[in-house]
């Protein structure tokens, strides 16, 4: 969803301020909600659902809440939505505490059992389902190769997505194939894991933020296959830069480039010089990428 959580590229939040000697938690309730969200959270569904619950917070409330207040909101909301407890039960418990009347049985049990140490493996966490599915489907064939030019699709789903707005419609290059992972967009909504390859995609700062941006900044984003389409029209400029410098150019093209070196520096060749069939380009791409990889190894 195009929510308030999708902050990349926004202005107005002021400078970044570091707190010296920062404690892990700033209040006892932060400790408790952190632990409860992990323990109870794993019985309530997957990590994608949890993230989406936070994203569904009304934007004004999201902005006015501290980090662990958002966790609290998320856990309360999910417990109520999954019918593990009711709003009335929560409010009744709050009222008992406010009144200072009899601490509930449960709270006294909390105090009693505090001393019981029971080892809890760090594996107790909702994200684990990711790992399982990843192993099961690890032989799935990738749609993109490392070095391929891609465009992040311009999609605006109302539900959960991990494609940040600032990347949509932008051109990048696949730098790594991380393997097969659960797809958050379906997994957050009970529509199954839709396992698919997830890639690390490099975007030039200028592609994302415009020509005034410093030239030597690059942003790397991990994007699932369904967020991407093959960039058939142009070579991404980072690829073009390397290709123009290092790849031996066939004579015919070389002569044309001498006429207009600016043309080669442009993002892509003009439409009429593109190969007619997209397949031609797709076939040529892997060979070009292998060459580039070899050259970049040499340069190191």
């Amino acid at each position: 969803m195009n929510g308030i959580h999708d902050l990349g590229g926004m202005h107005g939040f002021g400078p970044v301020v570091r707190e010296e000697n920062e404690p892990v938690f700033h209040a006892d309730w932060e400790r408790r909600i952190f632990g409860m969200a992990l323990l109870a959270g794993q019985t309530l569904g997957n990590l994608d659902e949890m993230r989406h619950t936070i994203e569904r917070m009304p934007p004004d409330r999201y902005l006015a809440s501290t980090y662990y207040e958002r966790w609290l909101y998320s856990l309360e909301t999910r417990l109520i939505e999954k019918r593990r407890l009711t709003r009335d039960e929560l409010e009744a418990a709050q009222q008992r505490l406010r009144d200072g009347t009899a601490v509930s049985d449960a709270l006294s049990r909390v105090e009693q059992t505090r001393s019981d140490a029971e080892t809890v493996g760090p594996s107790a966490r909702p994200g684990d389902s990711h790992a399982d599915v990843s192993r099961r489907h690890s032989i799935q064939r990738p749609r993109f190769k490392v070095g391929s030019g891609v465009i992040a699709r311009n999609i605006n789903p109302e539900g959960h997505t991990r494609l940040p707005r600032y990347a949509r419609g932008r051109r990048g290059v696949i730098r790594h194939d991380w393997g097969v992972f659960v797809f958050p967009d379906t997994n957050a909504h009970g529509r199954g894991p839709s396992p698919q390859h997830c890639y690390n995609v490099e975007f030039r700062g200028r592609e994302l933020w415009g020509i005034d941006h410093p030239a030597n900044e690059r942003i790397f984003i991990d994007l699932w296959e369904d967020y991407l389409e093959l960039d058939r029209a142009v070579l991404p400029d980072s690829t073009a830069r390397i290709a123009v410098k290092k790849t031996p150019v066939p004579k015919r093209v070389s002569a044309a480039m001498k006429k207009s070196s600016t043309q080669a520096k442009m993002k892509g060749a003009p439409a009429k010089s593109r190969p007619k069939s997209p397949q031609t380009r797709a076939k040529a791409a892997p060979a070009r990428n292998r060459k580039m990889a070899a050259q970049s190894r040499k340069r190191r």
Partner: protein
């Protein structure tokens, strides 16, 4: 601008009396969850203790120090990070898939999560407030040099800045440059120099280590 007040986890709410605000809501929630058997208080305490006292940037610092003195380990760390980190005994939630990014005189890497707060827990512990702040999440990708400047780090114009937005399951650890003058230090001494922020990419490792800035006191 109040974004840091909002996001710092110790704004006005935390200072309230325990019976109001989030403190009250959390206490009530815990009572109900325990009553219903949905949370085991002993497991809860153990989990909190693990992340408050056992897991933290000292884990990542050991990895960095070893990579500085052991070229074979460094190579494994840069190619098979998850396995190389597991060799040192670290792994688990938010560290199942790891990649290590090497800072060099030409390339400076830094890590952010613009959509939430993804962070490599097994090697760095839980993220600091500034990492989760709206200010960092919004501008780390669009103005990394400006953000680094605010955090006290100047990156020369000729150095390329690479920002890694942790938008999926991969978690990133920055391997900072070993500072000059540390040739005679052993692995434990080196590990003590390595800061949390140098492994996020918002600081560099300094030797001798920089003294913490004096705490600003209001004028009398």
């Amino acid at each position: 601008m109040s974004s840091n007040d909002h996001d710092d986890g110790h704004g006005h709410h935390a200072h309230n009396a325990p019976e109001t605000g989030p403190a009250l809501r959390v206490k009530a929630l815990e009572a109900v969850l325990v009553e219903k058997g949905l949370v085991d208080p002993a497991r809860l305490d153990t989990l909190i203790d693990t992340y408050e006292h056992k897991v933290g940037p000292h884990n990542g610092a050991r990895i960095v120090a070893r990579a500085w003195i052991d070229p074979a380990y460094k190579k494994r760390l840069l190619t098979e990070a998850t396995a190389a980190i597991a060799e040192m005994g670290y792994g688990g939630p938010q560290g199942e898939y790891m990649t290590v990014l090497e800072n060099t005189p030409r390339v400076h890497n830094m890590v952010v999560c613009t959509l939430c707060s993804c962070y490599p827990w097994p090697v760095l512990g839980l993220p600091p407030v500034w990492y989760k702040s709206f200010a960092y999440r919004s501008r780390a990708v669009s103005d990394p040099r400006g953000v680094l400047h605010e955090l006290g780090l100047e990156i020369p114009a000729e150095v390329e800045v690479r920002v890694w937005d942790s938008s999926a399951d991969m978690r990133y650890l920055v391997l900072p440059m070993r500072p000059p003058g540390t040739e005679n230090l052993g692995e434990p001494e080196l590990a003590e120099l390595v800061t949390r922020d140098s492994m996020i990419g918002t600081a560099v490792v300094e030797y001798p280590p920089r003294k913490p800035p004096p705490v600003a006191k209001p004028a009398a």
